[in-house]
């Protein structure tokens, strides 16, 4: 692949027929990509290598061609006319003896410039053809039709610094402090301690069996308050029974719970 290949043989790139002999032909500029393209086509008619091309003859051919086109009242684009003027000047420089004290390029140098320009263009045309004819992917060579590809497994890596952790702790700690200050109101339940106190105080004046309900506070507004007071008073009665300060009685399951002062021995 790295060996320089020999340059390919010149290929005919023109998509339209090149102009035939200068005498009788249909003059058309439609098929040419500009004046250099026309010059290259004319040069090919000399059937010599571009290096041994007669630039003087090429210039004459071009001028004849443009003259023929104008005789036929064909529209000749400005580019072609500019090139014609330049070639007419080149022709005069090539034919007339060079002035002694010369400024700018000599006729020979101008001819060489044109020759190089034509050579470059022709080379690029050859190389385009070589490239397009070479082993191209998807045309002459193929990559794998069903590549499996690489599967990407994404994995999360959590990043967290110590200072972030500490700030988080501080943040929730402050939140907690704020919450603690807001929640100073006592819970709305009837505490067992309160029930114990109330029950102990009332038992003294209860010589006979009385229902548990009778010991509940009078100011219970909601059903929740009532249930809470009932539960706490019941728990308190058990606590007092354990220490022998109250007697409990229930005749049947779910029946009313009765309590009184224990009988003294």
């Amino acid at each position: 692949m790295n060996d320089p290949e020999p340059l390919p043989q010149p290929t005919d790139f023109s998509e339209s027929d090149p102009p035939r002999e200068t005498a009788a032909f249909v003059v058309s500029l439609d098929g040419f990509d500009g004046p250099l393209d026309l010059l290259l086509n004319l040069a090919r008619q000399q059937k010599v290598d571009l290096k041994s091309l007669s630039i003087l003859r090429l210039a004459e051919q071009y001028l004849d061609y443009i003259a023929a086109a104008r005789r036929l009242k064909l529209e000749v684009a400005a580019d072609y006319l500019v090139m014609a003027a330049w070639l007419a000047y080149l022709k005069s420089r090539l034919l007339l003896p060079e002035p002694a004290a010369e400024e700018g390029l000599s006729g020979e140098a101008m001819a060489a410039l044109l020759q190089l320009q034509l050579g470059k263009l022709e080379t690029m045309r050859k190389m385009a053809a070589v490239l397009m004819a070479g082993p191209r992917l998807g045309l002459q060579v193929f990559q794998r039709g069903q590549p499996e590809g690489i599967r990407v497994l994404r994995r999360s890596l959590f990043e967290c610094s110590l200072s972030e952790l500490l700030s988080a702790y501080a943040r929730q700690d402050q939140h907690r402090a704020a919450v603690a200050q807001l929640r100073l109101a006592p819970p709305p339940v009837f505490a067992i301690e309160a029930a114990l106190q109330r029950l102990s105080a009332l038992l003294g004046g209860m010589p006979d069996w009385a229902t548990l309900e009778a010991f509940l506070p009078a100011d219970l507004r909601t059903a929740f308050d009532r249930r809470s007071a009932l539960a706490s008073t019941f728990a308190a009665s058990l606590e007092l029974a354990k220490s022998g300060r109250v007697a409990l009685r229930q005749a049947r399951p779910f029946g009313p719970i009765l309590l009184r002062r224990p009988e003294l021995p």
Binding site: R144, G145, E148, C160, L162, L166, Q174, A180, P187
Partner: protein, 200 residues
């Protein structure tokens, strides 16, 4: 295999370039008529058997495939750095400072319910682990930090975490905050609903 157009070379190229598995009839059409395609395929299969790419018969058709033992080569792990949500960060901090700590205690301290994913994520990352049960009614699971946690945060032991007093000195804790103990002391109202925005 040395002659330029050997049928094995042709088979190789055809199977390589094909965009789908090829059956023997299709392959035979591209080869000189008198060849035993099945035998050639068996030969090619043998040639590739020890290699990184194998010739496989799938559903009656033929296809090159990466050798099964090299499948791992075709997997690329890509790590994505992610940040913890605020809920996860605070939960982690509470576990670190108050371990062993139960879910209910974390919720109590944060004043908001903990979505299921938060503790799971911290355990999946490997920073938090269950650390037994508390011997109280309900026997709740308590959580603590892992060795991975210590490694990640560059701590020799959990006692190396800056103390509450140091945090306060650093201005991280509000001075007005009363020192609260988790298990005992005054208890805060328990959260009820799980905040759905808490997802880690």
């Amino acid at each position: 295999m040395s002659d330029g157009q050997s049928p094995l070379r042709v088979l190789e190229a055809l199977l390589f370039a094909a965009t789908e598995p090829l059956d023997e009839a299709t392959l035979a059409r591209r080869l000189p008529a008198d060849l035993d395609v099945a035998a050639l395929l068996a030969e090619l299969q043998a040639v590739y058997a020890p290699r990184g790419v194998n010739l496989c018969r799938v559903a009656g058709k033929w296809q090159f495939r990466t050798a099964p033992d090299l499948q791992y080569i075709l997997e690329e792990e890509r790590q994505e750095v992610r940040r913890l949500s605020r809920a996860a960060l605070e939960t982690l901090a509470i576990v670190a400072y108050h371990q062993p700590v139960s879910r209910a205690e974390i919720e109590e301290m944060r004043g908001v319910g903990l979505s299921k994913g938060t503790l799971d994520l911290l355990m999946e990352i490997g920073w938090v682990k269950p650390a037994g049960r508390r011997p109280v009614p309900g026997r709740p699971i308590v959580y603590g930090t892992t060795d991975g946690f210590l490694e990640h945060f560059g701590l020799a032991e959990i006692g190396d975490l800056p103390g509450v007093e140091e945090l306060r000195a650093a201005g991280l804790l509000a001075r007005s905050a009363p020192p609260t103990r988790v298990a005992g002391g005054e208890s805060l109202p328990m959260p009820t609903a799980v905040d759905s925005s808490e997802d880690a």
